[in-house]
Amino acid sequence: MERELAKVLCESIADVMIKNEKVVLVGADLIKTNGLKPIIEAFPERVVNVGVAEQNMAGIAAGMASYGMIPVINTFAAFASRRICDQVAISICYAGQNVKIIGTDPGITAELNGGTHMTFEDIGVLRSIPNITIVEAADSIELAQMIPAIIQHEGPVYLRMYRKATPFVHNEDYRFKLGKADLLRPGQDVTILCSGIMVSEAVEAGKQLEADGIDAEIINIHTIKPLDEETICASADKTGAIVTCENHNILGGFRSAVAEAITACKPVRIYPVGVNDIKGEVGVLDYLRTRFGLNAKSIVSAAKRAVAEK
């Protein structure tokens, strides 16, 4: 079972715009690409398209927020992070503006747009800015609850998300809570921390590890900042080894954030699965997963090493 995330994004944005008249959509010539054309049709007066000018998009959003609106800006993750970094730092975060930033196609999910559009650094760039919350959706069920939650949260938020069909990792009983990690599979031998497109791979890896007699604890870290340190430290204490899985450079991003957290509470070895500080390249998702090792196979291998070297 799977569902297209862009469709859910559109439905969720429409829903919050119906319920909250302060919400406006601000884009930079990728509103239709991001599947949000129905929002333009439904709310023509509450959609602002600034054209190919992402920095201006971010500044305009900050200005609209200062007036009391809740702007949702959207573009590709590459432009939503490195292109507008200074606007996010000053006009949005330093100024304390309630702007929601949606970056689509993070990391290898840029696929055929290739290496120029492949953000392996967006989490690293943004998480060092004070006052920002960073989230990543693993499936459509999570995304549908994440959108109203980030609108309700007062303050700047960056959401990085894949747009295409994504297998379900949650069931309909799932309840998203901003800042609180989800335990997907309890285990004793090794902790696997993951988010976004790495979650379904981690779940698959958990099954393979189980067949090989390794009892992995799998935790979905949908909120990358602020990190749920309590859950991570408790799990590290229990299993004694961590595998981090990220669709991002292993420098500066999720692995770094986890390392910072556990060195202060329960230092254990971390085995990173992610992009090993190399450039992106063009390709389809399956090819790129193999090329950069962002799959269940890499997670199984890292987890086995983690257990063996404990």
């Binding site: 406006v24 007066e45 509450r46 602002v48 600034v50 054209g51 000018a53 920095q55 201006n56 971010a58 500044g59 305009i60 959003a61 900050a62 200005g63 609209m64 927020a65 200062s66 007036y67 009391g68 609106m69 702007p71 200074d86 606007q87 730092a89 000053i90 006009s91 330093y94 100024a95 304390g96």
Partner: protein
């Protein structure tokens, strides 16, 4: 504008200059030149044109000023203090530890500051956002923005300007502090704006060009901009002198962007501003 009003605004501009000198002198060093060059437009806005309430800085429907050239904060702080947004004593705390008056404007710290600015080229985008939000909300307020000429080398100034015209924001009245100077030299020496008035006209603004030290001319230009409800945002090019009002500061030229002032210089500057013979 009657003579009495004109004299009042000139006095307010003079007082703003005097407070800029005093507070930067107290701080030791600061952005003197660019604060003095906008003193007249600040006087016109805060003491004549803007619909604001010092007792209710966040009043709904208030006119707003976004100082995109955020380093000229001291000029705005002087006006806000005289208006009563906060005690005059605060001016002595400029840039001191724990102050509510930092070098560059910070809306989270200072009552009456409508937008944080300082990273050049961003404030004008924010002003377009405020003006767009006001248009969506069908508010009747005016959004003012002051942009530096050196700042206009930032590409985002032009992104913002294109979008303001596209969105038909005739509630946006922008000013260019056309003092011709920046840190590394004159604007023409560094990267010339060539014809700023023609540029903004080409970008879809209605453009006025006035002596930026003539309070009546500035106010008249604002009135004309307001009278022409034609969908076009306004750009009022203010021909100014960086450091205006104090001869020895003006003579520093580009070096007055950030300068220190000793007690003797402060005293000399205040004597000159208030026409006191030595």
């Amino acid at each position: 504008m009657n003579a009495e009003k004109k004299q009042y605004l000139e006095e307010m501009a003079r007082d703003i200059r005097a407070q800029v000198i005093t507070m930067i002198g107290e701080a030791g060093k600061g952005h003197v030149g660019g604060s003095l060059s906008i003193a007249d437009v600040i006087a016109v806005l805060y003491f004549h044109q803007m619909r604001i309430d010092p007792n209710n800085p966040k009043m709904e429907g208030r006119d707003r000023l976004i100082l995109s050239k955020g380093h000229a904060g001291p000029a705005v702080y002087a006006a806000l203090a005289v208006k009563g947004y906060f005690p005059m004593e605060w001016l002595k705390t400029l840039n001191k530890p724990g102050t509510n008056l930092p070098s560059h404007c910070d809306m989270t710290k200072t009552p009456g500051i409508d937008m944080t600015a300082g990273s050049l080229g961003q404030g004008i985008s924010c002003a377009v956002g405020v003006a767009k939000a006001a248009a969506i909300a069908r508010g009747d307020e005016y959004i003012y923005a002051i942009v530096g000429d050196g700042e206009s080398q930032e590409g985002s100034v032009w992104e913002a300007s294109m979008s303001a015209a596209q969105f038909k924001l005739d509630n946006l009245i922008a000013f260019l502090d056309n003092n011709g100077m920046q840190i590394d030299g004159t604007v023409d020496e560094v990267v010339s704006l060539r014809s700023p008035a023609a540029k903004w006209e080409a970008f879809g603004f209605k453009v006025f060009r006035v002596d930026g030290h003539d309070v009546e001319a500035i106010s008249d230009a604002i009135d004309m901009a307001k009278a022409q409800k034609d969908g076009r945002p306004a750009m009022i090019v203010l021909d100014t002198i960086k450091g205006k009002g104090v001869k020895f500061i003006e003579e520093e030229g580009t070096a007055n962007h950030s300068m220190s002032l000793n007690d003797e210089q402060i005293s000399r500057a205040l004597d000159e501003l208030y026409g006191r013979a030595k």
